[in-house]
Amino acid sequence: MNKHVSILVIGGGPAGLAAGVSAYKAGIKDVLIIERDVRLGGILNQCIHNGFGLHTFKEELTGPEYAARYISQVEELGVPYRLATIVTDLQLSDDGHTKIVTTMDEQGGLTVYEADAVILAMGCRERARGALNIPGERPAGIYTAGTAQYFVNLEGRMPGREVVILGSGDIGLIMARRMTLEGAHVKLVAELQPYSGGLKRNIVQCLDDYGIPLMLSHTVVKIHGDKRLTGVTIAEVDDKLSPIPGSEKFYECDTLLLSCGLLPENELSGQLGVNLSPVTFGAVVNESLETSVPGVFSCGNVLHVHDLVDYVSEEATAAGKHAAEYIQSGIVESAEGGSDEKVTRVITDGGVRYSVPSLLRADHMADLTTIRFRVGAVYKDVDVVTYADGRELARLHKRVMAPGEMEQLILRKSDLISEGVPSEYRITIENKAGQ
């Protein structure tokens, strides 16, 4: 006998917790959060550094403390959750209305849930060596920065002593400091791009404070070592990111940490037939954070990789609220809009890589909608400009924008539709140097 649940949340990390709490507070008590780990909180449990929550709680918390704020809400409200349980399958019922969620756990074995709505909150995964195509031997001593973080912060074990870090994503920067404090020698951080993908404050507090060099436009071209890593060859790259012959240099090390980007974990979304963006690898969503499958919502890093957990919580709170509204409305409708409903497409160009959401249904929009986006390169002293079918809506000057930092703008519905519902809402960058 399948179990029925109104809203099933996949993932008990920051996104899933906020989404579950929000849906529950919005009046849907029949929520269930499914978490594969033995504890709630997701990746925050191993992010023991501070800097979380300034936006949400107006104080600076560590990752576990930030998670605890939401976990205690889950506990106090009595939002149901299951731990050590993994979702193995996600399908639509034959009539397309019910989401069939199969879970597996050690005690109960397989359980099948019939959910009216599903919130995807599975988070993301690090790009590992296999996805980076680094030539050379396959010795021990090569880890993603997050794996090393797990070893050091949750198990109290050190992965190595002489460390090279490839990629200047935030986890790599944080681990450069962490490994240094734990007694390792971090030789350098090599970054393929001519800019860092990490937050500026992490470059200041994790590298500059400890005198760790950041080598921009450099990458690992060879891995050395038979059983254990003995060193890496690092080369400078040209503006096409190709290694420059003759620039190779050997660095002795026993550990290589990889911090080369995060990928939303959307295998389950794919099973369900959710449309995915080729840019973010996350779902294509409308203003309600609803995917192309009606009643399936997405939020947090499985939707698009965030730089700040505060924005994950904010987005997930919205997703939970929208999922509750979906249940309460009792109307099953297409997320792409009904046949007579005009959908505004969000177009990004001129250096803006993508936006979330990318579809706007004016009838469903609140007065204010948060649009999040990222740029593809570093821009200084430019204008972010938005247009509705060619009519300029807003122009915002930005002193600096970088690919590592998520941007957001607030769209006022009355501005968007002041001359009727546009077919296109465009976000672009203007007044770049030399233009």
């Binding site: 918390l61 560590t62 576990p64 109290g156 002193r399 930092e405």
Partner: protein, 121 residues
Amino acid sequence: MEHKELICINCPMGCMLSVDIDDNGEMTVTGNNCPRGDVYARKELTNPTRIVTSIVKVTNGELPVVSVKTKEDIPKDKIDAIIDELKDISVEAPVLIGETILKDVAGTGVDVIATKNIGRV
């Protein structure tokens, strides 16, 4: 007249601050988007401080270590001494979030507190 550039770390904005220091030591901060940037620049150039986060060994806990932090920020040059003191201690589970793990760490007058719950096994 002296000129210094630094990046504000108060919040994720990471404002780029320009500081002009005149011959009397008077500082003029520009580039900040909020008053905290001004305060940060003055402090960073006279008395830089940090919150230190690390781990401490736990006995009989569901995890072998507990994450900890200094309750307030401490002088930047005390970081190494604090880390050394934390390596030498261990606590008995259960540990509660916010519980004091070490008082007056490295003579800073600041306590180190737990940042997560560790159950006893």
